[in-house]
């Protein structure tokens, strides 16, 4: 399954993730994708290597104060911070998402947003929004476009839109030029992680009325 991912992260997102410059919701998206995609994990870790070189080149004369090593040993003696609970690897939600949901899919607190579509907004900083979307098999998410960037990654099932078909691990990167209507495959309910850094624009009246509820 791991090798079947066809739609990957862009270099600038991976570099910004490695450099630590993304809003939290985007970090969550990248971390979730990397948990499923070794191709992008390798790319991401090569950008970490750039950071390692930057660190190595730092001037070491900014010396630590006297006693700092002893203070660090005292810190170590306090013991390791509590390890995060291990998540089952066969889960639908990769580990970074489970940290936000508090478990796998059955722990998601869905809120209906109409037409069978459900969502759960995840607690991140407000610069960008991360939400889980539940699209019933065969249903469509209202036709919309974007002010900013929208990343959508499939966790279960699959969806298709005007661009292509997207299955587990695939990421669709949409900007303002894209106007799309994602439709879930008929065979299975689709669960996605969607991240946006600006409100979506819906093209029809009804969905626009939903917008306050969707908070998108």
């Amino acid at each position: 399954m791991r090798n079947e991912i066809k739609h990957h992260m862009t270099d600038d997102l991976l570099m910004a993730y490695a450099a630590g410059n993304l809003p939290e919701a985007f970090d969550l998206m990248v971390a979730t994708h990397l948990s499923l995609c070794d191709h992008c994990r390798a790319r991401s870790e090569s950008f970490d290597a750039v950071g390692g070189c930057v660190l190595q080149e730092q001037d070491a004369s900014a010396s630590m104060s006297d006693g700092s090593l002893a203070a660090t040993m005292a810190l170590i003696a306090q013991g390791a911070p509590k390890a995060k609970p291990a998540h089952p690897t066969c889960a639908v939600l990769p580990a970074p998402l489970q940290d936000y949901v508090g478990g796998d899919v059955n722990a998601i607190k869905w809120k209906p947003v109409g037409m069978g579509v459900k969502q759960a907004i995840l607690p991140t900083t407000s610069e960008a929004t991360a939400r889980l979307l539940f699209i019933p098999a065969g249903a469509a998410v209202p036709d919309h476009s974007h002010n900013g960037i929208e990343l959508t990654m499939v966790l279960q099932g699959a969806f298709s839109d005007e661009i292509d078909r997207f299955a587990r691990g695939d990421v669709e990167i949409a900007d303002q030029s894209i106007h799309h209507t994602p439709t879930a495959d008929i065979s299975e309910d689709c669960i996605c992680l969607a991240v946006t850094d600006a409100p979506l624009k819906f093209s029809k009246l009804m969905p626009r009325l939903f917008q306050p509820f969707l908070r998108i």
Partner: protein, 218 residues
């Protein structure tokens, strides 16, 4: 024990350790005992052994040497990222403590010690300066049983050294832009994907390491 380290120089500590090791007939303390504060050449491989010694033997001498090399660099990195000196110092200590606790997770076929330390320092910066959680991918590690191949370790270290040389050879303005990004001074919209860095080989190397790790995990 810990306070002793504080009152003598690291060289003294290392020297004492060499003596103690010799007395015990221990063979694992090989090579140069102490790296000078600015001499990092020839030490890349050695830092890997340092982390292993911390992991396997909770070796405080290895830790003291890593601390001497990396803690000031972490501090300088955090100051350039916008921290004041006192906070940067505190964070550098916490980063080094994390290195101790997570030594078992370090994979030398995918990262040098400097790269790994960078990721811990970056996460600390996000946590403390940006007050934001940092989602990380699922941990992948060799576990207590398996060990990576030495030649894979060496190859990764060498390719990282080449990357470092390539970065040093970049035009000044371009190098500064990359540094700025890694200090957290550029938003993700400002980061251009064309860094001009030759990341192809190191990426393939890491991918190979991941494949071997997956194979070992199954």
């Amino acid at each position: 024990m810990f306070t002793e380290i504080d009152t003598v120089t690291l060289d003294d500590v290392a020297a004492q350790h060499v003596v103690k090791s010799a007395v015990r007939g221990a063979k694992r303390f090989k090579g140069k005992p102490v790296n000078g504060p600015n001499k990092c050449c020839d030490s890349r491989k050695e830092w890997v052994d340092h982390v292993r010694r911390i992991r396997d033997a909770k070796d405080q001498i290895a830790f003291a040497e890593l601390f001497q090399h990396f803690a000031p660099r972490i501090k300088a990195f955090l100051i350039k990222s916008g921290s004041d000196a006192a906070l940067a110092e505190e964070c550098a200590q916490e980063v080094m403590a994390t290195l101790w606790h997570k030594a078992h997770l370090f994979d030398p076929t995918r990262a040098t010690v400097a790269t790994w330390v960078f990721t811990i320092a970056r996460n600390k910066r996000i946590d403390v300066l940006r007050k934001q959680r940092r989602p990380e991918p699922e941990d992948l590690w060799w576990g207590p049983e398996a060990e990576p191949e030495q030649e894979d370790v060496l190859a990764l270290q060498q390719e990282t050294a080449q990357l470092r040389d390539a970065m040093a050879a970049l035009p000044e303005a371009q190098r500064q832009l990359i540094e700025k990004a890694y200090f957290g001074d550029l938003s993700h919209r400002e980061i251009a994907s064309q860094t001009g860095l030759p990341l192809g080989t190191i990426k393939s190397r890491i991918r190979l390491a991941l494949d071997r790790l997956r194979h070992a995990m199954n």
